[in-house]
Amino acid sequence: MTETQSGTTASPVERVIRARREAGTGALIGYLPVGFPDLETSVDAAVALAENGVDVIELGLPYSDPVMDGPVIQAATQQALAQGFRLRDGFEAVRRITSRVDAPVVLMTYWNPVVQYGVDRFADDLAAAGGAGLITPDLIPDEAGEWIAASNRTGLDRIFLAAPSSTATRLQQAVSTSRGFVYAVSTMGITGARSDVDNAARGLVERLREAGSESACVGLGISTAEQVREVLAYADGAIVGSALVSALANGGVDEVARTARALSDGTRVS
């Protein structure tokens, strides 16, 4: 599976996103960290996402220095680390979730844990656990040679970020290097709910289209069904994180299920 997103051998994530787009809407991607509030509950919560309208599960691996994350996700991942989260818990979570639901699961991880685990070993263990790929917030394609080789070998998706400040050349690089989707950062900032999803997101997705993207998903600041609908009017997917983490922190798995269901309203053709 070494073709890029335009190829005929679409990855599971690409197939899901394509199916949602062809249905006239777009995909809902939901983020939750592994190990928060504990491993068992984080697995149940991820399963609840898939059972309540989330198309792709993004599982975050807690990391000591998460520079892209805002206060809500920081607090959750810090708690997971304090409770003894280990990388192997990430693979275990992927295994358990993919045995219970069909939604593809991608991991979101900062780069150093992958380096220390061994890039090839990480790719092999993720593929063996049934994972679909990696979102790498602090790894740009320029530094990703080893990961590109490992993901080509294992068929895993590699999802790079695109920002409103990225040049046309860099957007082209993000599009041609990514598989699964391109993570379009809606605003110049970090994760966390915002009342307005930046206008920059629309412009960025337009520029990604010009760069050839068929699978651009918008993240950062999206927390309501209204915003999901707004984003899906121009993008292929909407990524929600902090709102789901808050729901889990405040009301447990039931509240995550309710929030996911409410968000997925934004993916219905009205």
Binding site: V67, Q74, V115
Partner: protein, 403 residues
């Protein structure tokens, strides 16, 4: 290949840019502006004039024979960066970067600080150039260094206590990076050491290399020869890169960086990154770092807040790997003894950071013998450390504390 001509982004397998895509445009812009400034005689002249009339450069060298009696009779010469305005080498880099920020049209400076020295220097430059300034400082450090917090506020800076993670320097860097991502249009992140993503390691080194360039000539003038060895303390490594750089292609000059070993490099409480760490990615660059098996950053410990950092600049990682410089651990106790020794034998109170270099030099002198000449970077003065030293040596009267 000359070692001095390295300009990044990679030093061997170290360095690079491991940051969110949102920062790449800002790093590209900064690298281009820095390179144009570096080659612009007007920029160099403006910086040189500032150093002459504001920093107080060139800083002098001082030979310290009474101290040297304890260093196996080696000649010991101090490069007096402690005499710079604001009390340490940090001002060299801060003025340079603030001028680059001005060229970029940025109106707001942000910085991280551990001990507060870099924060004070950045607040100083912001005051001098009429820019607004926000300094991120771990909550733990704001408590340890209350006086420097007051200094920064007096200079007009806003100090934000960082309450995330371990609430120390590494978390202050994380928060500064988060601020920069969100405010990159108006803001320059004035990183204080030779770490971080390209172009910071090379730019910060270049702004500090004046230390070694001056000292090399000053030692030649004084002794007629190059020194046997050059020593410096290493946290992130800016003062060490600054004094090492001029000597990199002098193969007979040995280079020694002294890392903070805290309670001992073989205990869990130290900051000896090259001695005990292994390569990884932290704060935007690949270098040595203190981390656990899973790559989670491990907290460092040192009596010196300025060396209390679990990473190190990528050029040091490379110099260590190729064997050009040696990095050795110095404990809290050895550093504090050297601090007291220099104070009592020479009337110079060094910063606790610099005292690590002095402690290493005492041992090195005994090894190299009386025919050797050792140049030490005295990177900062000890005024800021009086509370720590007072407690450590029990110098403050109990009654005086109650006032």
């Amino acid at each position: 290949m000359a070692l001095r001509t390295q300009t990044g982004p990679y030093f061997g397998e170290y360095g690079g840019r491991y940051v969110p895509e949102s920062l790449i445009a800002a790093l590209d812009e900064l690298a281009a502006e820095y390179e144009s400034a570096r080659d612009d005689p007007a920029f160099q002249a403006e910086l040189a004039e500032l150093h002459r009339t504001y920093t107080g450069r060139p800083s002098i060298i001082t030979e310290v024979p009474r101290f040297a009696e304890h260093a196996g009779g080696a000649r010991v010469i101090l490069k007096r960066e402690d005499l710079n305005h604001t009390g340490s080498h940090k001002i060299n880099n801060v003025l340079g970067q603030a001028l680059v920020a001005k060229r970029l049209g940025k109106t707001r400076l942000i910085a991280e600080t551990g001990a507060g020295q870099h924060g004070v220097a950045t607040a100083t430059a912001a005051a001098l150039f009429g820019m607004s300034c926000v300094v991120y400082m771990g909550e733990v450090d704001t408590e340890r260094q209350a006086l420097n917090v007051a200094r920064m506020r007096l200079l007009g800076a806003e100090v934000i206590p960082v309450k995330t993670g371990s609430r120390t320097l590494k978390d202050a860097i994380n928060d500064a990076l988060r601020d920069w991502v969100a405010n990159v249009d108006t803001t320059h992140y004035l990183l204080g050491t030779v770490a971080g993503p390209h172009p910071f390691p090379v730019m910060v080194r270049d702004f500090h290399k004046i230390i070694g360039e001056e000292a090399r000539q000053q030692v030649l003038d004084l002794t007629g020869a190059l020194p046997t060895a050059v020593t410096a303390c290493v946290g992130g490594g800016s003062n060490a890169m600054g004094i090492f750089h001029a000597f990199l292609d002098d193969p007979d000059v040995q280079l020694f960086g002294y890392e903070a070993a805290g309670e001992g490099a073989d205990t869990p409480r130290h900051a000896a990154t090259i001695t005990k760490g292994r390569p990884g990615v932290l704060h935007g660059a690949r270098s040595y770092m203190l981390q656990d098996e899973d790559g989670q950053t491990v907290e460092s410990h040192s009596i010196s807040a300025g060396l209390d950092y679990p990473g190190v600049g990528p050029e040091h990682a490379w110099l260590s790997d190729i064997g050009r410089a040696s990095y050795l651990p110095v404990t809290d106790a050895a550093a504090m003894d050297a601090l007291r020794l220099l104070s009592r034998t020479e009337g110079i109170i060094p910063a606790i950071e610099s005292a690590h270099a002095l402690a290493g030099t005492l041992e090195l002198g005994r090894k190299l013998g009386p025919d050797s000449v050792i140049l030490v970077n005295l990177s900062g003065r000890g005024d800021k450390d009086m509370e720590t030293a007072g407690r450590y040596f029990d110098l403050i009267d109990a009654e005086a504390e109650q006032v």
